[in-house]
């Protein structure tokens, strides 16, 4: 079981646009990933699940995955969560 813990960097936490980008990436990667915040765990490709974690900026979340491609998928998702996606909004608008 591959596992990573990361503090969410986006100003709005895992809501709104950052949540959308995260779930989009999880779907694209195609590896089943679980996101855990506190005692709640949800599939990374579930928008409702990710929103319901109520993750705000600075919250630590743990990502878990198994099997082929797990390490690479977690690396990609951790990289995404480590960026302030809200701050990047203006650039690609």
């Amino acid at each position: 079981m591959a596992q990573r813990t990361v503090a969410v960097a986006s100003a709005s936490g895992l809501h709104a646009r950052p949540a959308k980008l995260f779930v989009q990436e999880a779907v694209r990667l195609g590896v089943p990933v679980t996101v855990r915040a506190g005692d709640k765990a949800v599939p990374a490709k579930s928008m409702l699940g990710v929103l319901s974690l109520g993750v705000v900026q600075g919250t630590e979340v743990t990502l878990e995955a198994d099997g082929p491609g797990a390490e690479e998928a977690l690396d990609a998702l951790v990289a995404l969560l480590s960026r302030d996606l809200d701050a990047e909004e203006a650039l690609d608008a």
């Binding site: 809501h15 989009q24 608008a93």
Partner: protein
């Protein structure tokens, strides 16, 4: 002043190519793939056939109080707080509550029809000749040719004309249907969710394509639509709905149950997530409509520019608004409703609280005056073209407007901005008259730290020389989750604004420290004021604490009639007053800001409100201290001269309103403004 790009006028071009394809895809016009076993619901299946949102008990129903704090989802919360979000949430009850009850809907409409019109007619005549410094009088020109006329509240200035189209209503859930083939129901569930996701995805792509180069708002709208599409695509949601279908529910009820479960879960989490619950309702309506083989509720896509008419608009509706929408008219809503805020942000003419508009048949050409609230029904194409031409000329005139605010005889009136964050700043004004700090922290579970606050305030201070900072304006009616305020039976009259300090004094202390530090670091002139101040004691206590932190200029907002009556004494304690006309009207007229049937009672032209404003302004003149207005009234080009005539020294408004107010003031002398004020008070 900020060097952010100028606001896009946002006004769509006239229908030069009426046959050109719409930017929005037709919502499942052929119903392909939809379950065909649906009959029921007869005449209501026609899109826009007198359809209105409120008829569906689900439409605004089940609204929790969190949801009721419309301010939050009003601006598609979380993406970027838009100027008016909190202003939209002044009270605990949401229009949806009334809309949810069919009997209330009808009763409410009748009431609004009678009194609403009365109020607005008074308002129109009040404007007097030459109103708005060059604006067109509603009775002149192309308006004269209309066969019918409706009046509502003009909430977003500008004029437009074109064929009207009503938005399809959300589907009503029929009685559960006996299921013979659960597998087929489950398949329909999956298809419905896919269809909704595809539809929203297509709209997102269209909005993005249409908006390329049109500024950030289209990117934002596309983001919202994509996020909604991903919720419809959610594997958890799909599995739950499928499971329920396999368990014997028909597709529509299985979808309804699965969505409702998630809706309740989000609502229970409070704050930002509770606001997203309204989005789930919207998605549910779309999916259920597909399962029932009904037209997808939501925006029409006629393939030509049109005036959008609805009972009210949801965040999902408004995020999908394409450039083919010429103007908005809603039967419900008030000056601070979501529709109003969105329209002003986009520069779309809008009229709300317009009784009778839903009875006008689709395709009727209407003229809309978003300043006066007039809707001319049944224009000819020539008349419509003339309306558009006049609007173009007016816009060109406003685009050329610049400089500080002054009357025709050079009496200065500061024109300032209402902002929620640095992102809202625009050039062309004389500072920030209302910095709504609570916008920065709407989704927080933990109080924002001192450092974080300093950074957020400094970002605004660096871009504007003078900034009037309002300390956190929250309450149980517009919750900041980190405050964890207890529920109240009557939130508009409860612990809100400065009153929160009674329970949580540390919050204000930290904020005042952060404002003082950000001002020191940037060298900006930061004025600070407290919301919902009611007594002398509150004002002097606040002033003492703010000054002890090193803040030189301290004021209070006047939103409570009791404070207005004591304006003279208040100004012995503080350096300035800022009148919040939205709340002052609510409390003066004992009328809920969000109540759809009471919009006329909230009309700021009423003498009682003007008299309170006059008392504040007079007290300011005597004391030699500034008295500004930062409510919606300040951005209304017909009202602004009147406020100046009452003695108000600054007007703070949404950035998009500044040019028209500047031009309105420039067209009148101070004496004319005073005459207008005197007439209004008579």
């Amino acid at each position: 002043m900020p060097d952010t790009p100028a606001p896009q006028p946002g006004f769509p071009p006239p229908p030069s190519a009426p046959g050109s394809p719409s930017h929005l895809d037709l919502p499942f016009p052929d119903g392909s793939g939809a379950a065909s076993a649906v009959h029921a619901i007869g005449g209501d299946t026609l899109p826009g056939g007198g359809a209105r949102r409120g008829r569906d008990p689900q439409a605004g129903g089940g609204a929790t109080r969190e949801h009721a704090a419309e301010g939050g989802h009003a601006t598609d919360g979380g993406h970027r707080p838009e100027g008016e979000r909190v202003a939209a949430s002044g009270s605990g009850t949401h229009g949806g509550h009334a809309a949810a009850d069919p009997s209330a809907t009808d009763g409410g409409r009748a009431t609004a029809g009678e009194s609403g019109r009365g109020g607005v007619v008074e308002r129109g005549s009040d404007a007097g000749p030459g109103a708005s410094g060059g604006g067109t009088r509603p009775d002149s020109g192309p308006w004269a040719g209309a066969v019918g006329r409706l009046t509502g509240l003009g909430v977003s200035q500008g004029r437009a004309a074109g064929p009207l189209i009503r938005m399809a209503a959300p589907p009503r859930l029929p009685a559960p249907r006996p299921v013979t083939d659960p597998g087929a129901e489950a398949a329909t569930v999956v298809k419905a969710l896919e269809a909704v996701a595809e539809d929203l995805g297509r709209r997102a792509t269209a909005v993005r394509a249409a908006g390329a180069g049109a500024g950030e708002s289209s990117g934002e709208a596309a983001d919202i639509l994509e996020a909604l599409a991903m919720i419809a695509d959610d594997p958890m949601l799909r599995e739950e709905a499928e499971e329920r279908a396999r368990g014997g529910l028909d597709a529509a009820h299985a979808l309804d149950a699965a969505f409702s479960g998630h809706r309740e879960a989000l609502a229970a989490l409070g704050g930002y997530l509770a606001e997203r619950a309204a989005d789930l309702d919207d998605l549910k309506h779309r999916a259920v409509a597909f399962a029932l083989d009904l037209p997808m509720p939501g925006l029409p896509a006629p393939g030509h520019p049109y005036v959008l008419v609805a009972e009210d608009l949801s965040p999902a509706d408004t995020a999908g608004l394409g450039p083919d929408v010429l103007a908005l008219i809603t039967e419900r809503g008030g000056p601070t409703s979501h529709t109003a805020i969105l329209a002003r942000g986009r520069g779309l003419p809008a009229v709300v609280a317009c009784p009778g508009i839903l009875d006008v048949p689709d395709g009727t050409v209407v003229g809309v005056d978003g300043t006066t609230g007039e809707v001319a029904v049944g224009l000819t194409e020539d008349e419509a073209a003339e309306v558009r031409e006049r609007d173009r000329a007016e816009k060109a005139r406003l685009a050329a407007s610049s400089g500080p605010g002054r009357t025709a005889d050079d009496h200065p009136v500061k024109l300032m901005l209402n902002v929620g964050s640095a992102a809202d700043l625009r050039p062309g004004a004389e500072g920030v008259g209302l910095f709504r700090t609570e916008f920065l922290f709407l989704d927080r579970r933990q109080p924002p730290s001192f450092e974080e606050q300093v950074a957020a305030y400094a970002e605004v201070f660096r871009q504007a020389e003078t900034v009037v900072v309002r300390t956190l304006d929250a309450g149980t009616d517009k919750p900041l989750p980190f405050l964890e305020l207890p529920e109240e039976p009557n939130p508009a009259l409860g612990v809100r604004g400065l009153r929160v300090d009674r329970l949580l004094p540390d919050v204000l202390d930290t904020q005042l420290d952060a404002i003082a530090e950000a001002a020191r670091a940037t060298g900006a002139q930061a004025w600070v004021m407290a919301p919902m101040v009611t007594t002398m004691g509150e004002a002097s206590g606040f002033a003492r604490r703010a000054r002890a932190k090193g803040i030189a200029t301290v004021g209070v907002m006047v939103e409570v009639p009791g404070a207005a009556l004591r304006a003279r004494r208040l100004l012995q304690e503080v350096d300035f007053l800022s009148i919040g006309t939205n709340d002052l009207a609510q409390y003066t007229f004992a009328a809920d800001r969000q109540h759809p049937a009471l919009a006329d009672l909230l009309d700021p032209r009423q003498p009682a409100l003007l008299e309170l404003i006059a008392m504040c302004a007079e007290a300011g003149r005597e004391a030699g201290k500034p008295v500004g207005v930062c409510g919606e009234a300040a951005g209304d080009p017909l009202l602004a001269p009147l406020l100046v005539g009452l003695g108000v020294t600054s007007l703070s408004m949404a950035p998009v309103c500044v040019p028209a107010v500047r031009e309105a003031l420039a067209g009148l002398t101070l004496r004319e403004c005073r005459e207008r004020a005197r007439a209004a008070l008579a």
